[in-house]
């Protein structure tokens, strides 16, 4: 894809930086009280209702198998065509442009839907492909 730099919302989860395309990031809110879901995977921390909609909260660190014990302060709401979801964040850095298309971080699993390393002013981050990740998550396990 020979495109110009795309704006991404960059946030930290543990010691790693992640980025989602700014146009997919609908909102940043404080982490609310969550409702636990029966039979859910460990990275699915729970759900909360936001503006009449139930949103699942995904712990990206657990998702890639590197859990952290920091307190998540905020969640980043991401909306794609199929649905919406929320990513945990210890700190939201802000909107930053990412040049080009970094390669996938893995061939399978969740990493197959992350690209990096991508340069942002705050450092190197993994750029998330929200549509693919949601698809991956909705497949269940």
């Amino acid at each position: 894809m020979a495109e110009g730099p795309r704006g991404h919302l960059v946030f930290a989860c543990g010691g790693s930086l992640y980025a989602v395309p700014a146009e997919r990031a609908s909102e940043v809110v404080n982490l609310p009280v969550l409702t636990r879901v029966p039979g859910a995977a460990p990275h699915l921390l729970g759900v909360f209702a936001h503006r009449g909609e139930v949103l699942p909260v995904i712990d990206l660190a657990r998702l890639i198998g590197k859990p952290v014990d920091e307190i998540f302060k905020r969640v980043v709401l991401v909306r794609v065509g199929k649905g919406a979801m929320a990513f945990t964040a210890t700190k939201v850095i802000g909107v930053a442009p990412i040049e080009g298309a970094p390669p996938r971080l893995g061939e399978s699993g969740a990493l197959a839907f992350m690209h990096g390393p991508a340069r942002v002013p705050a450092g190197e981050c993994a750029a998330i492909e929200p549509e693919g990740l949601l698809e991956y998550l909705s497949r269940g396990r």
């Binding site: 704006g7 909102e27 940043v28 809110v29 802000g94």
Partner: protein, 593 residues
């Protein structure tokens, strides 16, 4: 222990005279028969007279003897109670019995033969010469019969005297009852004379009479042949009666000799045995050899000597026992004294050392007392100063307590203010957080709006930075508030502890003040006391120095005393040995005192 006199002793003593008299009569009759030819028809009277006179004289002599022995008879029968006086009387009777028998026998024979001759002459009218010769027979036979009776009675009398001694008669009383007569020589002469002269005269007279008779017969023969025949016939028949007379006479003489020898020899023999016993040192009180004359004197003297010796030995024994006991006691005392002296010496040595130590201590005490006196004065001054200091300290503590309380109150107030500030800061932080979130979303929306929203996004970003600064500041302030809270908490605790400390400090200071007051009082007293002690110890020092000197003198004396005691102990030990030896020597006189 006394043994009473056996019964019938009076008769038993005189029995030998009853035996001797017929013997004498037999001799007399034999003499008459062998030497005198009694006229026809007178022999019957003669024999009858002899029998009668012998009976009469024997009975009367016996009665006489018995009257001379009535005390002995009474004692034997029990009609007379044994007492020193009666026993002495009985002894006197016994001692005289032999002599009485002698004279009675002699008298009876002389008078008896005279009476027989006179009566026979008056009745039978024999030739006068025959009657005279018969009357003289008593003179020939009487002495030997009397001697024999005497010799036979003497041992029995002695036996009775021994029995009397056993019945309780004391040797002294016996010696008094039997007076010593120095007549041994006379007695021996008498015995010898009677023993020799009586047979000699008897034999001589008998021979003379026989020769005369034969001569008369021979002269009456007409011729020589018939005369020779008569002589031969006389020779054949004539020695029969004469030889019988000779045998009896010899028997009597031998008997007399044997008896006299026994009478003299027995007591001598016994005396010899007693002397041997004495020589061996086996003394016994009350031993007495009964004898007569010089032997009796010797026996009584020996008994007295033995009694004296026994007394002396008894005294010696007692004395030696006393000496031994005294010596043993002396040794014991000496040992004790020696021990005591040694102990005393040791004690005195210790006492001397102690006294020297005391003197040294006294000097030390004196020095110390002066030093303490000075210290006590110093203490008094220090205590007075301390009391003033403690009082000012107490008031200072009161001030500190007030200050502390004020600080504590201020700190509590500060804490409240800080907490209020903290709440405000939290509120501000919450606003800043919301502002940050709002600005973040605004930035996001501005970005989504593309170029149109770019300016909006910039403002939002700026706002976010502002909000973040505020949050950083509030975090800083929160941290400071936390620090202040910790500090004020510590301050509150410190001031509370300070208040408590000042409280207890004030109490302590009050106690110290009181104690120092007491100390001032005591120090005053002790300063006075120490001055007194100092004075007293100076005086005591002088005294103890004198005591040391005195103790040294005593010590010297005691050492001498110990040496003397040792010497005395060895001397006393030697004395004990000597006294034991003495006692052993005295004990060899194994008498019963």
């Amino acid at each position: 222990m006394t043994t009473p006199l056996p019964k019938g002793r009076s008769r038993w003593i005189t029995n030998p005279s009853t035996i001797a008299a017929p013997l004498g009569v037999l001799i007399g009759v034999s003499y008459v028969a062998s030497t005198l030819s009694l006229p026809e028809g007178t022999g019957r009277w003669y024999a009858g007279l002899i029998v009668a006179v012998v009976i009469v004289f024997n009975v009367s002599a016996d009665l006489w003897e018995q009257t001379r022995l009535k005390t002995i008879r009474g004692l034997g029968d029990g009609t007379i109670a044994p007492s020193p006086a009666t026993l002495e009387q009985a002894a006197r009777e016994a001692s005289q019995a032999a002599t009485t028998t002698f004279f009675l026998a002699l008298g009876a024979f002389v008078v008896g033969s005279g009476v027989i001759a006179a009566l026979w002459y008056a009745i039978a009218h024999p030739p006068l010469i025959v009657a005279v010769r018969i009357g003289l027979v008593g003179l020939l036979v009487g002495p030997i019969t009397a001697v024999m009776a005497n010799l036979l009675v003497l041992p029995r009398a002695r036996r009775v005297l021994h029995e009397l001694a056993a019945a309780g008669l004391s040797p002294d009383a016996l010696a008094r009852a039997v007076p010593v007569q120095y007549a041994l020589r006379r007695r021996l002469v008498l015995y010898a004379a009677v023993a020799v002269l009586t047979p000699m005269m008897l034999v001589a007279d008998a021979s003379l009479a026989r020769s005369n008779e034969i001569f008369e017969k021979v002269r009456a023969q007409p011729d020589v042949a018939s005369a020779r025949a008569v002589m031969e016939a006389q020779k054949a028949e004539g020695f029969g009666a004469l030889s019988g007379l000779g045998v009896v006479t010899v028997f009597m003489v031998v008997l007399c000799g044997w008896l006299s020898g026994s009478v003299l020899g027995d007591p001598l023999n016994k005396l010899g045995q007693e002397t041997e016993r004495l020589a061996k040192g086996r003394y016994e009180r009350g031993r007495l050899v009964v004898a007569e004359n010089e032997i009796w004197a010797a026996a009584t003297a020996m008994t007295a000597m033995e009694a004296h010796l026994l007394d002396a030995v008894g005294g010696a024994k007692e004395a030696s026992r006393g000496i031994r006991d005294a010596a043993v006691e002396l040794v014991e005392n000496g040992t004790q004294q020696e021990q005591g002296a040694a102990e005393q010496s040791a004690a005195l040595m210790a006492t001397t050392a102690t006294t020297e130590e005391l003197a040294r201590s006294a000097r030390q005490i004196s020095a110390n007392a002066q030093r303490v006196s000075e210290i006590a004065r110093g203490t008094l001054a220090a205590a007075q100063g301390g009391k003033a200091s403690a009082e000012s300290f107490t008031s200072a503590m009161g001030e500190v307590r007030g200050g502390n309380q004020a600080i504590a109150d201020s700190v509590v107030k500060l804490n409240k203010r800080v907490q209020q500030v903290g709440r405000i800061i939290e509120f501000i932080d919450g606003i800043a957080d919301k502002s940050d979130l709002l600005a973040l979303n605004a930035e996001l929306e501005g970005h989504k709006a593309g170029d149109v929203g770019q300016g909006f996004g910039l403002v939002a970003a700026e706002m976010r930075r502002l909000a973040e600064n505020v949050m950083t500041s509030t975090r800083e302030i929160a941290r400071l508030i936390e620090d202040i809270r910790d500090a004020t908490n510590a301050a509150v605790m410190a001031t509370e502890a300070g208040v408590k400390a000042t409280d207890s400090g004030a109490a302590l200071a009050a106690k110290v003040s009181n104690s120092l007051g007491d100390i001032v009082e005591f120090a005053n007293l002790s300063a006075d006391a120490m001055q007194s002690i100092s004075l007293a110890t100076v005086q005591q020092q002088a005294g103890s120095d004198q005591l040391v000197a005195a103790m040294e003198d005593i010590n010297r004396s005691t050492r001498k005393n110990v040496e003397s005691a040792k010497e005395m102990a060895s001397t006393q030990t030697a004395l004990v040995t000597l006294s034991k030896e003495l006692e052993e020597v005295v004990d060899t006189f194994g008498g019963r005192s």
